[in-house]
C-alpha cells in the first residue's frame, strides 16, 4: 500500500504536530469535562439533595411564571419561556428565560422544585453548580465576553484538521501498528503505537465531536453568510425553515393582554392528542397575551431522530402547527440530529457509557501525543535549552490536565460540604478553580512525568473515595441507603468509589514498578 509522498508526509506530519501540541491541553479539558457533562442530568439528584423527589406531572405554570417574575423582573414580558419537563434522572423543572438589560438579551436558567415549591437560579445565586460548572468548562464559558466559546470553537476546527492530517500520515501504518500494539512492554514505541491505535479506534467519534462542537460554537460563521447573501438579511426565513415553531415567536410589543386557557390544560390536551409520545420540552410563547401559544416537542425515546413538534394556540385551542414524530423533513431534522449525536441522547445509558469511554480514549490519545512529541525531541540533535523547553511544556500540560481529576472530585465534595444558601455556587466555583490552579502548580514542581502521574492518581483516588462520604455526611443518604431509594445518587457515589479505589491500586502498581 502506498502512503503519502515524502514531501506531503513531512508537511502534514509537521502541521499535525504543531496544531496538536497547541490545542492539546485545552482539548483535554474539553473532553474530560465533556465526558462528565454527558451525565449532567443524571448527576443532578446527587448535587441537589432537595431534588431527590418523585416526578410530578402537572404544575400550575401561571404561578411558576409569577414566581419567576418576582425573582427577576422581566420574565412576564419575555416572549418565550422554555421549560424542560422533569424526568426520572432530573425530577425538577428547568426553565430558560430570555431577559433584556442594557447589554442586550441574555438567558437565565432556573430550576423549579415542585415538592418544596422552591425556585433557584442556576450557576448564579444559591443554586447548585457541579454539573453546570463542568458543562460550561467544557466550552470554556468561564472565560468572559464569549472569548472562551470562540477559543473552544476554533480548537474544535483545528481538532478536525489534526484528526484528518493524522489519518493521512498514519494511513500506511495503521494496520501494522494496530497488531504491533501491546501492553507488555512500555517503551517509546508503546506511546507511538497507542497514539495511532486509540486515535484510529476513536476516529469517527472524534471527527463527529470536532465538527458538531465547532458548529455549536461557530454557528454564526455558517448561518451569517447564508442569511446575508441568500436571504438578503431575512434571518427569520432561514430559521423557520430549520425550526418551524420559530414562526410563532414574533414578539409583538403591541399585543394586548388576554385571558387564555391554563398552560397545564393545554399540555394535557397535547398529551391526550398524541398518546404514545412523551412531551419533553415546552415553549410557552407570549403568555398572557392575545397571541399566546404553547409549543411542545414530542419524543419517542426508542428512535434516533424522529422527534415531532406541535404549537397549540392557547386562545382557540387549535393547532397552529402539527408535525408528528417522523414527519419532519431533512432540513427540519438536521439540528436535532446534531444535538442527538453531540449529547448522546438517543440510546439510553449504555450508549452514554460508550461515549464516556471513547471520550476518555480521546484524552489518552491527547496525552500520548504530547509525550511522543517530547520523546521524539529528546535526543542529541537538540540543544539542552530546547530540550528543557520541551520538558517544561510537557510538565505544564500534564500538571494542568492530570490535576483536573482531583479538582473535579473536590468540586463534588465542596458542593455537599459548602453550606447551601446565598452565594453557594460562587463559593463552590472559587474553591474548584483555585484548588485546580494550586494542584496544577504543585504538580509542575514535581519535575518528572511519573511523579505528577502518581501524585494525581493518589490525590485523585483519595478525594474520589471521599465523594460518597461527603454526600453521606451532608444528606444522610449513605451509599447503602440510596441503593434502594435513589438509584441515580447511588450510582454516582458508587462510580466515584470504584474510580477512587482503581486509581489508588494503579498508583501502587506504578510505584512498585518504579522501585523494581
Amino acid at each position: 500500500m502506498k502512503g503519502l509522498g515524502t514531501r506531503a508526509y513531512n508537511i502534514l506530519f509537521h502541521t499535525h504536530t504543531v496544531t496538536g501540541i497547541v490545542i492539546s491541553a485545552i482539548l483535554f479539558v474539553i473532553f474530560f469535562a465533556g465526558a462528565i457533562s454527558l451525565y449532567k442530568q443524571e448527576l443532578y439528584q446527587w448535587e441537589d439533595p432537595a431534588a431527590r423527589i418523585p416526578v410530578t406531572d402537572s404544575i400550575n405554570y401561571e404561578r411558576l411564571i409569577s414566581g419567576l417574575d418576582s425573582m427577576k423582573t422581566g420574565v412576564k414580558e419575555a416572549n418565550e419561556i422554555r421549560v424542560r419537563l422533569p424526568s426520572d434522572a432530573c425530577p425538577v423543572y428547568t426553565v430558560y428565560v430570555p431577559l433584556e438589560d442594557s447589554g442586550g438579551v441574555y438567558y437565565s436558567t432556573f430550576t423549579y422544585n415542585p415538592v418544596t415549591d422552591n425556585i433557584t437560579e442556576l450557576f448564579h445565586g444559591d443554586g447548585t453548580t457541579t454539573g453546570e460548572t463542568l458543562y460550561r468548562l467544557h466550552f470554556l464559558d468561564q472565560v468572559p465576553w464569549y472569548i472562551g466559546r470562540y477559543v473552544a470553537g476554533f480548537v474544535s476546527v483545528f481538532f478536525a484538521f489534526t484528526v484528518v492530517a493524522g489519518l493521512l500520515i498514519h494511513w500506511k501504518n495503521i494496520v501494522s501498528k494496530f497488531y504491533a500494539f501491546s501492553f507488555k512492554k512500555i517503551t517509546k514505541q508503546f506511546w507511538t503505537n497507542a497514539h495511532t491505535v486509540f486515535g484510529m479506534i476513536g476516529l469517527p467519534f472524534q471527527l463527529m465531536y470536532a465538527v458538531t462542537g465547532a458548529f455549536y460554537l461557530l454557528s454564526i460563521f455558517i448561518l451569517a453568510p447564508a442569511v446575508v447573501v441568500l436571504f438578503k438579511g431575512d434571518q427569520e426565513k432561514l430559521i423557520t425553515k430549520i425550526y418551524p415553531p420559530e414562526a410563532f415567536h414574533k414578539h409583538d410589543r403591541n399585543a394586548r393582554a388576554a385571558d387564555h386557557m391554563p398552560i397545564a390544560v393545554a399540555l394535557q390536551k397535547i398529551r391526550t392528542d398524541h398518546a404514545g409520545y412523551n412531551v419533553s420540552y415546552l415553549e410557552i410563547i407570549n403568555p398572557g397575551k392575545e397571541n399566546a401559544a404553547l409549543g411542545a416537542d414530542l419524543v419517542n425515546e426508542q428512535d434516533f431522530n424522529r422527534e415531532g413538534v406541535v404549537v397549540l394556540d392557547l386562545r382557540s385551542g387549535s393547532y397552529k402547527l402539527e408535525i408528528k414524530p417522523g414527519e419532519k423533513n431533512y432540513v427540519q431534522s438536521v439540528l436535532q440530529g446534531i444535538s442527538k449525536l453531540h449529547f448522546a441522547t438517543f440510546g439510553g445509558w449504555l450508549l452514554k457509557t460508550l461515549y464516556f469511554i471513547l471520550s476518555l480514549f480521546t484524552c489518552f490519545v491527547i496525552i500520548s501525543g504530547v509525550l511522543m512529541w517530547k520523546e521524539a525531541r529528546n535526543k542529541p540533535g537538540y540543544s539542552d535549552k530546547q530540550r528543557r523547553f520541551h520538558h517544561r511544556v510537557t510538565m505544564v500540560y500534564l500538571a494542568v490536565c492530570f490535576s483536573l481529576f482531583p479538582a473535579t472530585a473536590l468540586l463534588f465534595i465542596s458542593e455537599q460540604l459548602v453550606p447551601s444558601g446565598p452565594g453557594h455556587a460562587g463559593y463552590v466555583n472559587t474553591l474548584f478553580f483555585s484548588c485546580w490552579l494550586l494542584l496544577a502548580a504543585t504538580g509542575y514542581f514535581l519535575k518528572t512525568e511519573k511523579r505528577i502521574t502518581v501524585y494525581c492518581l493518589v490525590l485523585g483516588g483519595v478525594l474520589a473515595c471521599c465523594v460518597p462520604l461527603a454526600n453521606g455526611i451532608s444528606t444522610g443518604d449513605w451509599i447503602w441507603r440510596s441503593a434502594a431509594s435513589f438509584p441515580y445518587v447511588f450510582i454516582t457515589d458508587l462510580v466515584w468509589l470504584i474510580t477512587g479505589l482503581l486509581f489508588l491500586v494503579l498508583a501502587a502498581v506504578m510505584r512498585r514498578r518504579g522501585a523494581g
Partner: protein, 96 residues
C-alpha cells in the same frame, strides 16, 4: 520522529499558507455552500448540511493550502473562486 525541515516552508510562505487555509479556506467553503444552495429542489437541504460539511470542506482546504508550493498562488486561487461563487450566490439569492 520530527519532520524533516527541508520540506517545510520559509516563514513568509508559512504565514501565507496558514492564512490561506484559515481565512481563504473558510471563505471558499462557505461560498461553495451558498452556490450549491441555488440548485433547485435540493439546494436548501445542501445548505443546511453545511452545518457540518462547511467544517469538513474547510479542513480539506487547510490541508491543500499547506500542500501547495506557493502561498501566493493558493491565496489567489482561493480568492478568485470565492469571488466567483460569491457573485453567483449573491445574484441568484432571494429566490429561496
Amino acid at each position: 520522529m520530527p519532520a524533516n525541515p527541508k520540506y517545510l516552508s520559509s516563514p513568509g510562505q508559512r504565514v501565507l499558507k496558514i492564512s490561506a487555509g484559515l481565512l481563504g479556506g473558510y471563505m471558499l467553503s462557505a461560498t461553495i455552500h451558498l452556490v450549491i444552495a441555488l440548485i433547485p429542489g435540493i439546494g436548501i437541504s445542501l445548505l443546511v448540511s453545511g452545518t457540518f460539511s462547511v467544517f469538513l470542506l474547510w479542513v480539506v482546504f487547510m490541508i491543500l493550502a499547506f500542500l501547495a508550493r506557493n502561498g501566493w498562488l493558493i491565496w489567489g486561487i482561493y480568492l478568485l473562486l470565492t469571488l466567483v461563487f460569491g457573485v453567483i450566490a449573491y445574484s441568484g439569492g432571494g429566490a429561496l
